[in-house]
């Protein structure tokens, strides 16, 4: 009985979080007229026209953009995880002169995020001739300050005895790092996943950098919903539903590990 207010609170919160997305999915079958009545939940009939339209590229090459987004976000997340994990390992487990200073320099990145550097980044990419290329999107943001902090914390929790053991065995620091990776797998997955989401959601940089044939999902979605309303709203809803699929799948798969990593990190 005592639990009821607690359940009610959580239930309402969960409903607020899920209901609009269920509405969004069902709206991909609706006509414009039905969509403009937000309190209407179920469509009158289920036609897969909007998905078919996206698949055939009737409005824009949606699945090309989808693939670009997957490539950019996946590439960026994997690179960022590897690169910042290596840096975090070095900062927490190798003693060298200037370590604290270098750490401070590395996390300066947090103060000027890449969105604030969009304009010079745009010019720099144009100068390199990479503008419009998917690399120009994937590489900035790999050097993540939060990642360095996160992994420095993670590797601090790895007992020093293991490092000593590795030294006795004659392993180089790089070999030790590689050997330790499975041990911190939950943390690696957590960061990789969070970075993937952030990169998946990036809007400003692709808006500046990419040519029209190379766009990513956030811009495709904005284009599907342009002010002229030529395209039925249901197409936008279908695209939005599809854009949610990979992240929800990833999250579902990695959820357990993520929780393990976060619980471990907060044990102090």
């Amino acid at each position: 009985m005592k639990r009821i207010p607690s359940f009610l609170f959580l239930g309402v919160a969960a409903l607020i979080c899920v209901y609009p997305f269920a509405w969004m999915f069902l709206s991909s079958f609706k006509t414009n007229k039905e969509i403009y009545q937000p309190t209407l939940f179920f469509p009158s009939d289920y036609e897969w026209d909007s998905y078919a339209g996206l698949w055939s590229g009737e409005y824009l090459p949606f699945f090309d953009y989808f693939l670009h987004s997957l490539l950019v976000s996946g590439g960026q997340a994997l690179l960022a995880t590897l690169v910042t994990a290596a840096a975090g390992f070095a900062f927490s487990k190798i003693r060298f002169r200037g370590s604290a200073w270098l750490f401070g320099v590395a996390i300066l990145v947090i103060l000027v995020p890449k969105q604030a550097l969009a304009v010079p980044l745009f010019e720099w990419m144009a100068w390199l001739g990479w503008q419009g290329d998917l690399w120009s999107l994937a590489l900035p943001g790999v050097a993540s300050g939060l990642g360095v902090i996160f992994f420095t914390q993670v590797f601090r929790k790895v007992p020093d005895e293991l490092i000593d053991l590795a030294q006795v065995e004659g392993l180089s620091p790089v070999r030790t790092f590689v050997t330790l990776l499975p041990l911190v797998a939950p943390a690696l997955m957590t960061f990789c996943f969070l970075h993937f989401i952030l990169s998946w959601q990036e809007h400003l940089l692709p808006l500046l950098m990419l040519d029209d044939e190379n766009l990513t999902l956030p811009i495709a979605l904005a284009k599907l919903r342009d002010s002229s309303h030529r395209i039925p709203e249901s197409v936008g809803m279908a695209a939005a539903t599809l854009s949610l699929v990979p992240v929800v799948l990833l999250f579902g798969l990695g959820f357990r590990k993520m929780k393990t990593a976060l619980v471990e990190l907060s044990l102090s």
């Binding site: 060298f96 010019e123 471990e264």
Partner: protein, 332 residues
Amino acid sequence: MKGFMGGKAGISLLCLLGPFFALWGLFWLVPLGMGIDLSLQSPDFRPVHRDEVLPQDTSSSSSLTFLDWRKPQVEVEVEAPRYVGLDNFEKAVADSKFHKALGNTLIYVFGSILVILPLAFALAVNLRSLTRIPRGVLVFLLMIPGLALPGVLSTLFYLFFHGRTGALNQYLVIPLGFDPVNWMMDPAFIMPSLIIQAVWRWTGLVTLFFLCGLEAIPRWQFEVARIEGVGLWMRVRSILFPGVRHLALFAAVFLVVDGFAAFSGAYNLLGGSGGILDTGLLLVTYVYQVAFPGGCGRFKFNGAAAMSLLVAPVTAFLLFLLLQARKSFFSR
């Protein structure tokens, strides 16, 4: 002895730190330097095309001039960039629209943090008392808005929540006996609706963080509290709260950084404008407006670069405050 010693590990150190700092230099330091350089140059510097300097005979057939159109680019005479010191910064500081954008962003950041952290804490505390499976399912459901693209969130906000017939008005405002609110058109409600979106988006993620922090609290602490008959407030203050304070700090830093970089949601909702009376004008949106005015191809990068750089001290100051707060407020 702690860890590896430095001297022997020189090459390893290079292998481990090298990739990070290479990318750091290429995609952060260089653009930052270019940004500083740009921000010091004259704001009215622009490429001058030859035909502007030497007006050509335009009586020849139009198709020919059309063909020639691309040629002068090779001989473009570019006015040498003029360095003007801190002019651009002074202009930005004096720009009332910049003030507006900065103020709005601060309200946005603080507003969302002040709502998200307590709400997420309450949710996490309630979730902790559930059994494993419902707990997992509920956290998963709470996280879903955080997984969606901000553009999707604002589209949903526009179509589903907003509007006279929208869910916010139908299910909340009208039942409470108020007049329906025009969320995106009424200047008084643009910022709250942006904050509502931020709350909707991030509360789930922060709840997950807090829940993990709470799960890490050793069981015996609760046992002791139960035996001692400690009240609810005391339990929150001395067991639950310390369990999440590091994560709260991390979440606050994340939200500050994300709030200052916020662009997509407002861009989608307000179409790149600041909304009515610029009440929804956020910093990045304004920088974007200054850099690419009307998309007509005449870029004003200098002023925009100066503004972007002015953000850094503000974020630095906020993060510094947070760290100070941690020292005085968080440590028992």
